[in-house]
């Protein structure tokens, strides 16, 4: 199954629509609740990152019987120092993002915690690509 979502930078009223849609689909597919929660939390943080930092973005979600792969690809300012961005507490978010309850430098570390693998690549001035993979453990509950 393949799903694609377009995300508009700065559009906080729609931030979370992609994660909400994926959550409903995972429920329909009877994915274990804890596995589904990890995936949607990581996806939601990633979606909020696009809205908060980028100009626009596309999220591609591929679900098969063994894993869920999510690619968040944005056009935006990019990340010049990914290692620094991964440190808890580091953020470049402005006041508007903080008013929304984000921007404390917790998003990327929490995405990593909730995924089995996470890869970030970025070209400053062009954009950022984050790839998330979660394996579907059939024994999970």
């Amino acid at each position: 199954m393949h799903l694609k979502y377009k995300i508009a930078g700065g559009d906080f009223s729609n931030a979370g629509n992609a994660a909400s849609s994926v959550k409903k689909i995972l429920k329909q597919l009877n994915i274990a609740p804890l596995t589904a929660k990890r995936i949607v939390v990581a996806l939601y943080e990633g979606e909020v990152n696009i809205v908060a930092h980028a100009w626009s973005g596309i999220i591609n979600v591929t679900i098969d019987s063994e894993r869920i792969a999510i690619v968040l690809d944005d056009a935006g300012p990019g990340i010049s120092d990914i290692e620094q961005a991964m440190q808890e507490g580091f953020s470049t978010a402005g006041p508007r993002v903080r008013e929304m309850g984000f921007g404390a430098g917790m998003g990327l570390p929490n995405m990593k915690k909730n995924t089995d693998s996470m890869t970030i690549s970025s070209v400053p001035g062009r954009g950022t690509k984050v790839e998330l993979v979660n394996y579907l453990d059939k024994n999970a509950y």
Binding site: G16, S20, K23, V41, V48, M100, G101, F102, N110
Partner: protein, 114 residues
């Protein structure tokens, strides 16, 4: 303690989720920082917050949080109610501050997560 008991204790009002008035509440977490809420592993908890916007409800949806109390009678918008209804989330509004709400619930035996 259920949602109805909490509403009475906090002199609060239910904004949406009347069908879930008997929902039992065991654990609560208070935060205005949604990224912090999103790190919680426990679900079906109550969130006490002063942040009354759509992202607070979206965060509850993603975290499987089923009850939200908004302090200081902050306005709860129609958009928030719609997302709460879609996800069976009870929304409660209280005139008390987040500190006051948390104190009353703690005293009544609602457990903290940390």
């Amino acid at each position: 303690m259920n949602v109805g008991d909490i509403i009475k204790m906090l002199d609060a009002s239910i904004v949406t989720g009347n069908d879930h008035i008997l929902r039992e509440v065991e654990y609560a977490f208070a935060s205005d920082l949604m990224s912090d809420v999103l790190t919680l592993e426990r679900d079906r908890i109550l969130l006490i917050t002063g942040l009354s916007n759509l992202q607070a409800v979206r965060t509850a949806e993603m975290s499987d949080i089923n009850t939200i109390i908004v302090g200081r009678n902050k306005t709860i918008s129609e958009d928030m109610i719609k997302v709460a209804d879609e996800n069976d989330i009870v929304m409660i509004q209280s005139a008390y501050s987040v500190f006051h709400i948390a104190g009353e619930l703690f005293r009544a035996g609602i457990k903290p997560i940390y």
